[in-house]
């Protein structure tokens, strides 16, 4: 990405065509479309499914350990307490996706802030911020998130924050690299000469041009965050009061030998959501990468 054609080095806001071009590129990518359709379906079911299906995922709907397809009342069976798996599948998506999205947002927010400052100002600021980033980089992120969640009472907010705090480092490095590169370009220098403030240069001039790789990485982080939430719940650190796919797997973990269905279905849902955001991320990467555009 080092040397873009000069023509693209203008703020995105000023030109509409690159965005439209990216969208066109994206639409040409079949797997990306598949991911988009899949994610749209998951989001729609999560948003409108619960009121339509109308079963509280915590409610005991049948005998514990009812296998799928036995009781029409609970088509996907029940878990070890007798809760409806289908209700959990439909109701659990909201929390899982919300954690995924907010954790990704959190990650990008921290990463961008740290990366932008380090890249733009350089020198001592860069040194300090990068040492902090490296400090977090060497900590195993799942374990850091576990500690954070265990220190405070597990709740959905805490989980999102923990995932954010545990996984912002690569975004910071990416943002720093982009800022380092972009700040030396002529239009930024021009901006500085005419007296633009640092704030304006960072957020209005450089940021829009640094966004494409960050958007791609944020998309991929959504997938990682969903897996994190599932992982934390699997280890018993999920929010027990909000149904999520991770919680379903976590609370059925002990019964895996007795009821494959109570962990398999939410597991499949997690798999599909992560797959869909990854496909979208790849599609975005191709679409936003000017080098690939000519293909």
């Amino acid at each position: 990405m080092a040397d873009r054609p000069a023509g693209t080095d203008i703020p995105v806001a000023a030109a509409e065509s690159p965005a439209r071009e990216a969208w066109r590129m994206f639409l040409r990518n079949r797997s990306a479309i598949l991911g988009l359709v899949l994610l749209a379906a998951i989001v729609l079911v999560s948003l409108f499914g619960p009121p339509l299906y109308g079963v509280d995922p915590f409610k005991i709907q049948g005998a514990p350990f009812t296998p799928p397809g036995v009781d029409p009342n609970v088509p996907l069976g029940t878990d070890h307490v007798g809760r409806d798996i289908l209700a959990g599948m439909i109701g659990g998506g909201r929390a899982t996706l919300a954690v995924g999205a907010s954790a990704a947002l959190m990650t990008v927010a921290i990463g961008l802030l740290v990366g932008a400052m380090a890249g733009y100002y350089g020198g001592l600021v860069d040194e300090i911020l990068m040492r902090i980033t490296e400090f977090f980089q060497v900590l195993p992120s799942l374990i850091l998130a576990m500690v954070l969640v265990a220190l405070f009472t597990p709740s959905l907010y805490m989980i999102a924050i923990a995932i954010g705090v545990a996984s912002w480092q690569s975004t910071a490095r990416l943002a720093r690299a982009e800022f380092l590169r972009l700040k030396e370009l002529e239009y930024v220098k021009a901006g500085r000469t005419i007296g633009a403030t640092d704030k304006r240069l960072i957020w209005v001039v450089i940021l829009p041009n640094a966004l494409p790789p960050l958007i791609v990485s944020a998309t991929l982080i959504v997938g990682v965050a969903i897996l994190f939430e599932a992982g934390l719940s699997f280890l018993g650190l999920g929010d027990p009061n909000i149904m999520s796919w991770g919680l379903m797997i976590g609370s059925s973990r002990e019964y895996i030998f007795d009821s494959w269905w109570s962990a398999t279905f939410p597991g499949a849902a997690i798999f599909l959501s992560v797959l869909s955001v990854s496909l979208i991320g790849d599609g975005l990467n191709d679409a936003l990468n000017p080098k690939l555009r000519e293909r």
Partner: protein, 528 residues
């Protein structure tokens, strides 16, 4: 009144069979002659802190501890005391002294004889260090007129004393080893214990295994039958179950996982039994913090009791393996009130009671919100209680602790609304029951004390009386009265006896099924 051994018929018969034979432990196995030799492998999920039960309660230490250390008495499966280190004993008529006549051939594993000095030292150590303060607190001193006679002098009659001298509760530890002035709780020899039990210590690797071997000089001639006992430690219950199925593990105790037990029951090489836990008396209950203004009301607690379906827990959650617990004394204990108030499921009644208590349903159908904590092992019950109490308009917010210390911290600092808890009876109510209900045991910072902050002067008085009543019939009357009060006031709502099960390979002869089960000596156990 005096209690002398061989006091009633069944005991006489058993004693007549003699020390050389199994004490009718398993009717089926009685036909076989015990075989000598072999290594018994016991699977256990818990890593004991150390192996000295004189200063540490609990199953993890108790199981191997009872093999390494002998106790003055032992109990059979019908709650009858049996001679062990003491070949006979006598409780004085006023209940203020207990004379133990020790065996003359008993030796510690280092070859030194077991004397009355060791008994006096052990009881003193237990009194000072063991968490169960009530066990020996009435023992003012222990007289040692000769090396083989120990006389316990009590400050008040103490009907629990015989039980307190059995199994893992009263390990006789050698004074010449543990009496060197070091802190007994942190004594280095707690990890290399020297006792006088049927098996002596070989090796303990934390989190891995404990190896014990037969003591050839054990004071009961011809015992134990086994050459070795290995406790294999594996946190994962599923792995232990696989070990049982493969035959690598001969025995696993304290298993409550109903699905796993259901699977193991089908295995033709294995026996699954709930026998062997009578004295431990594990009761799972829903504890209320009475300082909470809502839960402080008796009607609210009773309404919650009416809203919980014990039958669902027993039959659906535990696949029929657990039994309801109706009151504070485990149902297997002769002192339990079998006709206690039952609180059978009645949602209408629960709703009505909550309305009348001043908590009508608000717009969303919710009356109030409370938090519910749980021990990790009973998580499924907490998960059941959440939607179940929602039916009567109580919004339950679960708090699942990441680990045991977190949970214990919440509860012992009285920072909880409700919690699912499991508390053991430990044989006699004086040891394991009083602590939950007496006012004097409302002690912040102590887990399994009266963390509910329940206080009723009448209950205090009754338990005080029951603690010194020597006549079993009168004592039972007092306890019945006590149970009537607490099952009405419900400082906790008893849900079920924890479905502890022992699984053993059919190769195991004379499996440990006394009231202490695997926490009792296994000198009779053999491998076919």
């Amino acid at each position: 009144m005096s209690v002398i051994r061989k006091s009633f018929a069944p005991t006489v018969v058993k004693a007549a069979i003699g020390a050389g034979l199994a004490l009718s432990l398993a009717a089926g196995a009685a036909a076989d002659t015990p075989k000598k030799g072999g290594t018994l492998v016991i699977g256990s999920p818990q890593t004991p802190r150390h192996l000295n039960p004189a200063v540490q309660s609990g199953v993890a230490t108790g199981m191997p501890g009872s093999q390494i250390f002998a106790t003055p008495l032992r109990f059979d499966e019908n709650w009858n005391p049996q001679p062990y280190l003491a070949e006979s004993w006598k409780v004085s008529a006023d209940g203020l002294s207990v004379t133990l006549n020790l065996r003359k051939n008993a030796k510690f594993h280092d070859g030194k004889p077991v004397t009355s000095e060791d008994v006096a030292f052990s009881i003193d150590t237990i009194k000072k260090n063991h968490p169960f303060k009530t066990m020996f607190s009435p023992v003012a001193k222990v007289d040692t007129p000769d090396p083989h006679t120990a006389i316990l002098r009590l400050s008040k009659p103490h009907p629990a004393i015989l039980l307190a001298m059995s199994s893992s509760l009263c390990a006789i530890i050698p004074k010449h080893v543990y009496g060197d002035g070091k802190d007994a709780k942190r004594h280095p020899m707690n990890l290399k214990p020297v006792g006088s039990g049927p098996f002596r210590f070989v090796e303990y690797v934390k989190g891995q295994h404990i190896i014990l071997e037969r003591d050839p000089n054990f004071f009961l001639k011809g015992k134990p039958y086994l050459d070795k006992i290995i406790y294999k430690i594996n946190k994962n219950s599923n792995s232990l179950a696989l070990g049982l199925e493969r035959g690598d593990i001969h025995l696993r105790a304290f298993n409550t996982k109903s699905r796993e037990l259901g699977r193991l029951k089908k295995n033709k090489n294995l026996v699954v039994t709930a026998q062997g836990y009578a004295a431990i008396g594990p009761i799972a209950w829903l504890a209320f913090n009475l300082k909470n203004p809502i839960l402080g009301k008796k009607a609210v607690r009773q309404a919650i009791a009416y809203a919980v379906d014990r039958k669902f827990i027993n039959e659906a959650l535990h696949s029929g393996l657990s039994k309801p617990a109706l009151g504070p004394i485990a149902m297997g204990n002769p002192l339990a009130d079998q006709n206690a108030k039952r609180y059978d499921l009645d949602l209408d009644k629960a709703n009505k009671m909550l309305d009348e208590a001043g908590y009508p349903r608000k717009d969303g159908g919710t009356r109030f919100q409370v938090t519910l904590d749980t021990l990790l092992s009973q998580r499924d019950v907490a998960e059941y209680l959440k939607p179940q109490l929602k039916k009567v308009g109580i919004d339950v917010k679960l708090r699942i602790p990441p680990d045991f210390p977190t949970w214990a911290n919440w509860v012992k600092s009285h920072e909880f609304d409700m919690t699912v808890d499991v508390v053991f009876n430990w044989g006699d109510p004086v040891i394991g029951v009083h602590r939950t209900y007496v006012t004097s045991n409302i002690r912040k910072g102590v887990i399994w004390s009266n963390t509910q902050s329940y206080s009723n002067p009448k209950v205090d008085a009754l338990l005080e009386k029951a603690g010194v009543e020597l006549d079993p019939a009168k004592r039972k009357q007092i306890y019945l009265e006590f149970q009537k009060i607490v099952t009405d006031e419900l400082p906790v709502y008893w849900m079920y006896g924890l479905p502890y099960h022992t699984i053993y390979n059919k190769k195991v002869g004379n499996p440990p099924l006394t009231i202490w089960g695997t926490m009792g000596p296994m000198d009779n156990v053999y491998l076919k």
